[in-house]
């Protein structure tokens, strides 16, 4: 199938625009993080929920209440979220356009794989900001967006590959399944990887207060956010490895051969299993678990970059 150069070009434009907009969003988050008041931990709303006969809010007749005015940094934060959504839409458009331009799933080389992964990371972060909206995690957006913007920039400058068909070995629907699983779990795992570092900073602050730590969310929120994201992503990662093995069985003649890429995926998997265990092991909860989680993500990054470019193996098709 011939490549549609026009669509490929639009896809590139959308990608570049998305990266730029993410960068602006990053600035917005950073302004809120740096200058916004660290809002007090929202009150636990335990008992207010459906089915409760909560008393109707008091209505005072004759008094017009002011809309609570938003502080300027807070407005920056909200704008950053809007920009992130816009960026994600463009990002998605870029992937879809590439798919149409090449007539195949748009993750057949490193550039495309990286783009898909970062899209998952951004969408994952948007969802988490909503889920944890009472915990004031929006201000952490700058920390999540920094690696995203850096990786997207590297993708465009270093990894960029012209839109092209893939080799025979990649013509399999397992490519679609395996790569979707790998990209979505890696993208999601970026978030706990970063948040665990923030957790470490926050714990340090809790021991001896400092300005930086004070602006982060409370340690238990960070821990919870990291944990919940990890247990969501880990089964997907596991599935991705299994799908890879199934594909390898039909493409390379064996489900598992300790190819460098397979090996490092296995290492990352074991590290995350270690993370889950450490949370159930006395003396390993908290700080150590957070370190393990970050190490897990470093191993995933190492697998994507170092193994693909430096070590040659069956996976070096990119």
């Amino acid at each position: 199938m011939p490549i549609d150069q026009n669509l490929a070009e639009y896809s590139d434009w959308a990608y570049a625009a998305a990266a730029l907009i993410y960068f602006l969003a990053l600035i917005g988050y950073a302004v809120e993080g740096a200058f916004g008041r660290a809002r007090k931990h929202a009150e636990a709303r335990e008992l207010v929920a459906a089915g409760s006969a909560a008393p109707p809010p008091e209505v005072r007749i004759g008094v017009i209440e002011d809309e609570p005015r938003r502080s300027r940094p807070e407005r920056f934060g909200r704008m950053a979220v809007a920009l992130t959504v816009l960026g994600a839409l463009l990002h998605l458009a870029s992937l879809v356009l590439r798919g149409f331009a090449t007539g195949r799933a748009p993750w057949g080389n490193m550039y495309e794989y990286g783009a898909a992964t970062m899209l998952v990371a951004v969408v994952g972060w948007l969802v988490l900001m909503r889920r944890f909206r009472e915990n004031n995690v929006r201000r952490l957006g700058a920390f999540v967006m920094t690696p995203v913007v850096i990786l997207m920039f590297l993708g465009f400058t270093v990894l960029y590959a012209e839109a092209a068909p893939v080799q025979p070995a990649l013509k399999s629907y397992w490519l679609v399944i395996h790569v979707i699983a790998a990209a979505s779990s890696s993208g999601l795992l970026l978030i706990p990887g970063v948040v665990s570092l923030l957790y470490l900073a926050r714990v340090k602050h809790d021991r001896s207060p400092n300005r930086f730590g004070a602006r982060l969310a409370p340690a238990d929120t960070l821990d919870r956010l990291a944990y919940q994201t990890t247990i969501f992503a880990f089964p997907i990662y596991t599935f991705g490895i299994i799908a890879g093995a199934i594909w390898a069985e039909s493409a390379w003649g064996r489900p598992w051969g300790w190819d460098p890429k397979e090996t490092v995926a296995f290492v990352a998997w074991v590290v995350y299993a270690g993370y889950l265990h450490s949370r159930a092991t006395a003396g390993w909860r908290g700080t150590r678990a957070a370190v393990v989680n970050t190490v897990g993500f470093v191993v995933i990054l190492f697998n994507t970059f170092f193994i693909n470019f430096v070590v040659s193996g069956m996976h070096s098709y990119a």
Partner: protein
Amino acid sequence: MTAFLRNTWRGLTSMRTALVLLFLLALAALPGALLPQRSLNLRATQQFIEANGWWGEFLDRVQAFDVYASVWFSSIYLLLSVSIIGCLIPRTAEYYRALRAKPVITPRNLARLPHHDTAETDRTPDEVVKAATGLLRGWRVTERTEDGGARTVSAEKGYLRETGNLVFHFAMLGLIVALAVGKMINYEGQVIVLANGSQFCNAGTLGYDSFRPGLRVDGTNLTPFCVRVNSFQADYLPSGQADQFTADIDYQSGHDLETGTWRPYDLRVNEPLRTEGDRVYLLGHGYAPIFTVTFPNGEVRTQTIQWRPVDELTLLSEGATKFDPPGVTDPEQRRQRQLAVTGLFAPTQIVHGGVLSSSFPDLTDPGVAVDVMRGDLGIDSGRGQSIFEIDQSLVDSGRLTRVARENLDLGEEIALDDGTRVKFDGVERWVSLQVSHDPAQVWVLGFAVLMLLGLGVSLTIKRRRLWVRASPGPDGRTVVSVGGLARTDQAGYGEEFGRIASALRSGRD
């Protein structure tokens, strides 16, 4: 002594040891990704050892080039397996007990729990308990009456979490065992077959160019089947990138061998032939130039021998096609008159200053650049030699000498001084096939799927407890206290707890 054994066992099966072993496993697997491994790439491994002197030899001695078969890697995963077993036995017993036990007794002070709520109501304790059990449908519930007249409800939910967790760990053990069994009974062989109707039968290890048996395989019981390669088709994009490879084959297996039936199959990358539990893969392909030699006495010999690609992108290939002189019985004589045609083959030739290279992998304008060697090829010496090369030591010692060097187009020929003519006659394609046999791999897959299911269940379901105590208060009203505890992770329980607690408080359900 027993104390020592018991302590070792306890240590080995503790959570902390399991954790350390897990990290050791991750660490131990890593060198295999960074250093060349013998099982994957023998040549790169040897080059690495030579290039690194004593360091290379040291690494070799500590099995760093055979990581996944090394003593230390094996010990770690064996210890880990023991640790898992040691962990699973008591956990399974505990799980069985917990399944039959009633939810635990209500704690004295529910206000101490991570989730709690207290309210007063006009309903009687019995009514409250009834309402509570109504709300807790789907939970395991027990009612109790305490001294002093208070009525309590203990409820528990989420046993599936532990079920999933146990399934996961057992399945992982199963997977390790299935892998080990596979290592015993599998085999894998590779063979090059000309794509001109040539056949290959899985009859014995000698039929293969290379063969890797499992630990308990001696090669006498291979699954019988035959494959005939009719033709091979490679489709390329204009850029030279491969688009699709297809080998048109027929095969015979099982009952078909007796009846002589051949069944057709299109063998492609990603689409192996699966028959009788064995798999046949299309691994690679290349060209076999055809040379015809007309000897001075008029006898003609034709050979079609595969040459190996030296450049995967353009399929420029090298090789050596060897001829014995016909009708020469004296071994001494023969060893002076053997011929080899050796050099380069290009499917789409470009010649620059007499140097041949290839510009495209497909067969559009084939050409060869060959040396014709005459003398002793060394094939009678009993020493095996590569079919792609001539023995360079014979050239160095002068027993094999070059008698011609020329570039040939299809159909051109070289005339040697003694009247022998060597003609480049045509080209065949060959395919390289791999036959794999591993009956245990479906078990590996089955256990992997079980692991995934167990993992999913154990990570999504929360084990949680809830208690209600309704005690008669001094003023005739009833004090209702509710407490909740999630066993692993408190996150997410708050909302569910809040819903139940406020429903109890409001008296609705």
